[in-house]
């Protein structure tokens, strides 16, 4: 009978395995000749070829005395893997940083070295660095890339139906209604089976125009605003109003389903993040992108720019000099132009201009013109307790879409849950 408990034990073994994996790769700190090998721990499994074929060779050509090992862990296991590696003293030399609260917890636990004096870190604005600052206000990670969110649209369908790109919410509703009335296409490729994207790609995309970007976001953090304030309730209402333009059975449609619907040319508009520029154009459609419409004509426009990846220095690293050389190089435009060119949909966070060869990525970057940028609402400080506002928003938005919960009830539940643990930093 005892052996039937093996699945449970296997999970524990898996955790042990993570630690062992750390030992085998993190421990090779010793110099071989004059070459120092440093490891780079990260969650971008899908970018391994890009880094190993393009980015790392460019760095190693400039710094022949340093070799870099790319050491990815799947994004779902990344936090646990890094935590167990660092706590057993076998962490990689440079570590990819999650934005905001996870990273702040890691900084508090002493995982990273302060990078205030790092060469090149002054090339970033405070806004770019904000996602990886400690409670002391110092930078702990070099910003690598950010992502944007907007609305992809099928240019052929817009042309066929004689539609214009909407700039206000009223025009947006008219466009969606016109597509619905025509009946040939689904107006909005959106399903609510995946909670995260309702939050990141819909609420945090349309919402900033209602809660005035940073005003609303920082207001929640310092306690001067509540999610039950009209600007937030209106934003939830605007998201909820999209229901009538979504495909039948949207309650069970996943993120992958909606992408399929859009790329097959059966839907006109799809809210999504910039990381999908390659996927959205994969079937050869002529795709454009427009910014989340403003509430009223003449309003200031806001756009979500979410810091996605930063890189920090392991406080226990035995090769700090080599690691700092790599970090300084990652802060340079040399690196940024290689990276954003090879991974369309991810955007440089440096102050120096970078051009994008992918047309749709350039179109996305152009949305930043005249817009005030703001990261996702939930991730800074508001997700550092239980329940995290982040996960809670996913689940609550799903009840808005699937169970018909009203915007008022949804926001008041979120605020009540937040109040149960959060003390405003004001």
């Amino acid at each position: 009978m005892r052996s039937k408990l093996a699945p449970l034990a296997a999970l524990t073994v898996a955790a042990l395995g993570l630690t062992l994996a750390g030992c085998s790769t993190g421990g090779d700190a010793g110099d071989s000749g004059d070459v120092t090998t440093i490891t780079f721990g990260n969650w971008r499994v899908e970018d391994q070829a890009l880094w190993e074929e393009n980015v790392i060779p460019a760095f190693e050509a400039a710094h022949p005395d340093i070799k870099v090992t790319y050491q990815p862990t799947g994004t779902d296991d990344y936090n646990a893997a890094i935590q167990s590696q660092i706590e057993s003293g076998t962490g990689p030399d440079v570590i990819m940083c999650r934005p905001f609260d996870v990273n702040r917890a890691w900084i508090d636990d002493g995982y990273f070295d302060d990078l205030t004096s790092l060469e090149g870190i002054d090339g970033f604005t405070d806004t770019a660095l904000a996602a990886w600052q400690g409670n002391d206000g110092n930078p702990y990670c070099v910003p690598i890339a950010s992502v944007l969110a907007g609305f992809y649209y099928n240019k052929a369908i817009f042309k066929e139906l004689g539609l214009e790109i909407p700039t206000t919410m009223a025009e947006f509703t008219d466009v969606l209604q016109a597509i619905k009335d025509d009946g040939k296409y689904t107006p909005l490729a959106l399903g609510s089976a995946d909670g995260w994207q309702l939050s990141y790609n819909v609420l945090d995309s349309i919402g900033p125009n209602y809660w005035q970007g940073e005003d609303g976001r920082l207001g929640l953090i310092d306690g001067t605003k509540k999610l039950t304030d009209p600007e937030f309730v209106d934003a939830f209402q605007a998201v909820s109003d999209l229901k009538s333009f979504m495909p039948d059975g949207y309650q069970a449609l996943t993120y992958e389903d909606q992408m399929q619907l859009f790329t097959l040319g059966k839907a006109a508009i799809m809210p999504d993040g910039s990381w999908d520029v390659t996927a959205a154009t994969a079937s050869g459609l002529d795709v454009g992108v427009f910014a989340p419409p403003v509430v009223k004509d003449g309003d200031q426009r806001y756009l979500q720019e979410m810091p996605d990846q930063g890189v920090g220095l392991n406080a226990d690293s035995k090769n700090k000099d080599a690691a700092k050389t790599l970090l300084s190089w990652l802060a340079s435009s040399d690196f940024q132009s290689i990276y954003v060119d090879k991974v369309p949909g991810f955007f440089s966070m440096g102050s120096e201009p970078v051009t994008y060869t992918n047309a749709l990525a350039q179109e996305f970057a152009d949305l930043k013109t005249d817009a005030l940028l703001t990261p996702r609402l939930q991730l800074d400080r508001l997700s550092a307790g239980t329940p995290p506002l982040d996960d809670n928003t996913w689940a609550v938005l799903q009840t808005v879409f699937n169970d018909g919960v009203s915007a008022t009830d949804a926001t008041s539940k979120l605020q009540t849950d937040l109040d149960s643990w959060y003390t405003p930093a004001g």
Binding site: M1, R2, S3, K4, L5, A6, P7, L8, A9, L11, T12, V13, A15, L16, T75, D76, D77, Y78, N79, A80, Q83, S84, E87, R98, D101, V102, A105, D108, D109, G191, S192, A193, D194, G195, W196, P247, D248, G249, Y250, Q251, A252, L253, T254, D257, L261, Q378, L379, S383, T386, P387, P388, D391, W394, A395, V396, Q398, T399, N402, D403, S420
Partner: protein
């Protein structure tokens, strides 16, 4: 004749390799996981907190709500397996032993067992396409409705693993000697009476065993839910079972720090629930089932 002392020494030598592997890779991690649940390593250092994590798990309003929800869902997940998978498995096993399909028995047995050999990811993907409201057979969003989502996933799992109780009970059924069945026929018993009064009582111990195995498998369940709905299984946690809750807590998510201590606490609670129920089953029920010498 080998002396008793030597016999035990020999026995120990034969058992030792398996025992070492079992202790090193099964017992030790299990115990260290239980040990981990008594520590709190929130601020870098690991401190002993006794039952602190357990108190937190059962008293924090949000975390305990998630836990009871996951436990309820696990019970439902198991109940659906119990009332659907086992009877159908029994029926299939009984049909397989029937003489009318004696020639094609192998074909049926293989066909019915095939799903159990597929990867859950494939099973989840197939069924998701079949019941997809956009391009599938069913217009109703089965996986999007909080009341139908968990039964739907449970039935997918039943579909996949139906072959296991079937094969298990089938082998028990064919082990029944023909002379007993012949005797019942001579006494005038029809097929129905033969099955319920002769065959079923004879395989009852195996039936009980597969029921408790199903209980263990479903309470340790994780993969099908994770493959379909990820680690925060929606809608609104209606398909969250103990396995996914453990995973989410232990490994964290992109926006959540991994809490290995609380994860270990959940794992220990699950272990304890399974241990107690299984032990109770064996003490109270399985011992009373009559086994017949055939």
């Amino acid at each position: 004749m080998i002396r008793t002392g030597t016999r035990y020494r020999l026995l120990a030598i034969f058992v030792l390799p398996a025992l070492l592997v079992y202790a090193g890779f099964s017992v030790y991690p299990l115990l260290s996981s239980v040990a981990l649940s008594f520590f709190d390593s929130d601020n870098g250092a690991s401190t002993f907190t006794g039952f602190g994590n357990y108190v937190y798990l059962f008293t924090d309003p949000y975390v305990s709500e998630r836990f009871w929800n996951a436990l309820r869902n696990s019970v439902e997940f198991f109940a659906i397996h119990l009332v659907v998978e086992l009877p159908i498995g029994l029926l299939m096993a009984a049909l397989l032993t029937s003489n009318s399909i004696r020639k094609s028995r192998g074909v049926y047995r293989t066909l019915l067992f095939i799903p159990a050999t597929l990867s859950v990811v494939i099973v989840g993907f197939l069924w998701r396409l079949i019941i997809n409201p956009l391009w599938g057979l069913v217009g109703f969003p089965l996986l999007g409705d909080a009341t139908t989502a968990l039964p739907t996933i449970s039935l997918m799992s039943v579909w996949q693993y139906i072959g296991i109780p079937m094969i298990f009970l089938f082998t028990a059924l064919i082990a029944i000697p023909d002379d007993i069945l012949e005797a019942s026929r001579i006494d005038g018993a029809r097929a129905w009476a033969t099955f319920w009064q002769i065959k079923f009582p004879l395989i009852l111990p195996q039936f009980g065993l597969i029921a408790i195995l199903t209980y263990i498998w479903t309470f340790n369940g994780f993969d099908i839910v994770y493959a379909l709905n990820g680690s925060a299984p929606g809608p609104n946690y209606s398909t969250d079972i103990l396995g996914t809750m453990f995973y989410r807590t232990f490994f964290g998510s992109s926006g959540q720090v991994a809490d290995t201590d609380l994860g270990a606490t959940i794992a220990s609670v699950v272990f304890f629930i399974i241990l107690v129920t299984t032990a109770a089953y064996f003490v109270v029920l399985q011992r009373r089932l009559k086994t017949y010498e055939l």
